[in-house]
């Protein structure tokens, strides 16, 4: 019985510590995949992203998404961390860690988790440009819905 770890937090995170938390003291894990999503500066035009979320529902949805991955792949660990608040270019936004006996399950489930959480987890990005007024809300991409539709 694998219990997924899910956290929504303002603080930055440590991918290595999260991997270790899953693998430590075990010898049945053959593959660990980590995905880190970072804030890009968009060619220097972006001062920061502001991430709004729906407290309570955000954690619930990440848990549902993690549970869905556990039901589809034979995993020995799943972690999803998602930050909120002001995030500067170069900083982490989201971390997904999956662990399995075999590499295909680890890769596929991490890929799935990112696709799924993008279209299900209640987070919204607002762009703060270097010049001018705090700007627009990032528009959802059709490509993200299509990516989630692959699974």
């Amino acid at each position: 019985m694998v219990v997924p770890l899910v956290r929504v937090q303002a603080e930055t995170f440590d991918p290595a510590a999260e991997s270790r938390r899953i693998t430590q003291g075990r010898t049945d894990i053959g593959a660990v995949v980590t995905f880190t999503g970072l804030c890009r500066s968009e060619g220097g035009s972006l001062a920061a992203l502001e991430l709004e979320h729906y407290p309570g529902m955000a954690e619930d949805e990440l848990l549902r998404v993690a549970g869905e991955a556990l039901s589809r792949w034979p995993l020995q660990g799943v972690t999803i961390l998602h930050r909120f608040g002001r995030i500067a270019p170069g900083d982490d936004i989201v971390l997904v860690v999956t662990a399995s006996a075999h590499r295909r399950a680890a890769f596929e489930s991490a890929d799935f988790l990112m696709d799924y959480l993008k279209t299900r987890a209640p987070f919204w990005k607002k762009e703060h440009p270097v010049c001018g007024e705090p700007g627009g809300w990032v528009a959802a991409k059709t490509a993200d819905d299509q990516a989630a539709g692959r699974w």
Partner: protein, 83 residues
């Protein structure tokens, strides 16, 4: 009922949450949204394109024709852009 707004819906309406008593006969979450759109200019602006609005009932995604039932928390927000 507790009603929440996020992202540009929150900004357009000018508040993050409020208590709303929906008129008797309000059956679905979509009908609840249609009622909100009549509460003033800022609401009309927020809900001007109802088909793109996502709705959560007691913190679960639901389609617009989902019955309100006995839920306690109703949330409206734009398509999500996390990750």
């Amino acid at each position: 009922m507790k009603v929440l707004y996020f992202a540009w819906l929150r900004e357009r309406i000018g508040k993050a949450e409020e208590e709303i008593t929906f008129p008797p006969g309000t059956r679905t979450v979509g009908e609840a949204m249609a009622h909100l759109a009549l509460l003033g200019e800022e609401y009309a602006y927020a809900f001007e394109n109802p088909s793109i609005i996502r709705i959560a009932l007691d913190r679960r995604h639901v389609p617009h024709d989902c019955p309100l039932g006995t839920a306690r928390e109703l949330a409206f927000f734009p398509p999500m852009t996390g990750g």
